[in-house]
Amino acid sequence: MTDSTGDAWLLQLTGSYRAAIGLREMLYVLPEEPVSHLVPLSRPHAARVMVWQSQLIPLIDLTVFLGGDPAPDARRMIGIVSCAAGNDSKSTSRLGGLMISRTPERIQVWDHQACGLPPAPAQWRSIAASCFRHPDHGPVPILDLAAILLPN
């Protein structure tokens, strides 16, 4: 059995959490948080929208989703991410702006690095597809963007 590899982005979220996404899931990185607008009665971790390429897209603060406090505005960068939506015959995409605190790092992930999700916070289980052990940072969940952008 061979040990295969995949390219990914390592993300530092706005708190102390790290996560990864597939290389092709990141479309763009905004070095500063742009003007955003509050949408009343939306979910706490997705309470604002921003305009990107003439589209309104939700700003996602996974640190809040994971139970942490929102970071000061000055520390936020935005990673524009995308996931497929719909079935094969009528496929579209959903976009989101992930709040991160530093420029994503391109990494390679090998099969042998697979490991279990961190036991806490429990919310990882609803937004992570899998997990790998980073040599410096320990377990890093790989995000399931569809679970984040298209929750049930």
Binding site: R43, A47, S54, P58, S82
Partner: protein, 151 residues
């Protein structure tokens, strides 16, 4: 990688913009029954979470003041000068607003509220970006249901 957004739909329907403190609600213009001055609110008629009632065409309408998170408040700031009375059939609702404007000859690119932002009972159905501001598309019936639940 190219990305197609969630299906947006351009509309040329006439709308009214109800300006709250910093949130702007977008409702079909035909749902506006009348506009009254907030100075005419009779606060002694407050009931059920309203700030009072205003009279229009020999009827009294309870007036609600919503904060930016759309929670009914019982104390109305002086900056809210207009009561927008909305009506659909026999259902009516009056909202205190900082101002009310009409959008005519404006083609809005309405986008459905992103799935990850939706919550049960929210009256916000879609969003539109108009210049520097965000417009939250809703309807009189959705607002009435929300207020009935929240008040």
């Amino acid at each position: 990688m190219s990305a197609q957004p969630a299906q947006a739909f351009a509309v040329s329907e006439r709308f009214a913009v109800l300006n709250l403190e910093s949130v702007a609600l977008l409702v079909p213009l035909h749902e506006i029954y009348s506009l009254e001055s907030a100075r005419d609110i009779d606060s002694t008629r407050s009931a059920g979470g309203s700030v009072g009632a205003v009279r229009s065409a020999d009827s009294w309408f309870s007036v609600f003041f919503l904060s930016d998170d759309l929670k009914p408040q019982t104390s109305l700031p002086d900056t809210f000068k207009v009561c927008a009375i909305l009506a659909v059939g026999a259902v009516t609702l009056s909202l205190a607003c900082r101002s009310v404007a009409t959008l005519e000859n404006t083609i809005l690119d309405l986008q459905p509220l992103p799935e990850c932002m939706r919550t049960a009972g929210s009256p916000i159905q879609a969003l539109a970006h108009d210049g520097e501001r965000l417009l939250c598309r809703t309807s009189m019936l959705a607002l009435a249901a929300h207020i009935e639940h929240a008040a």
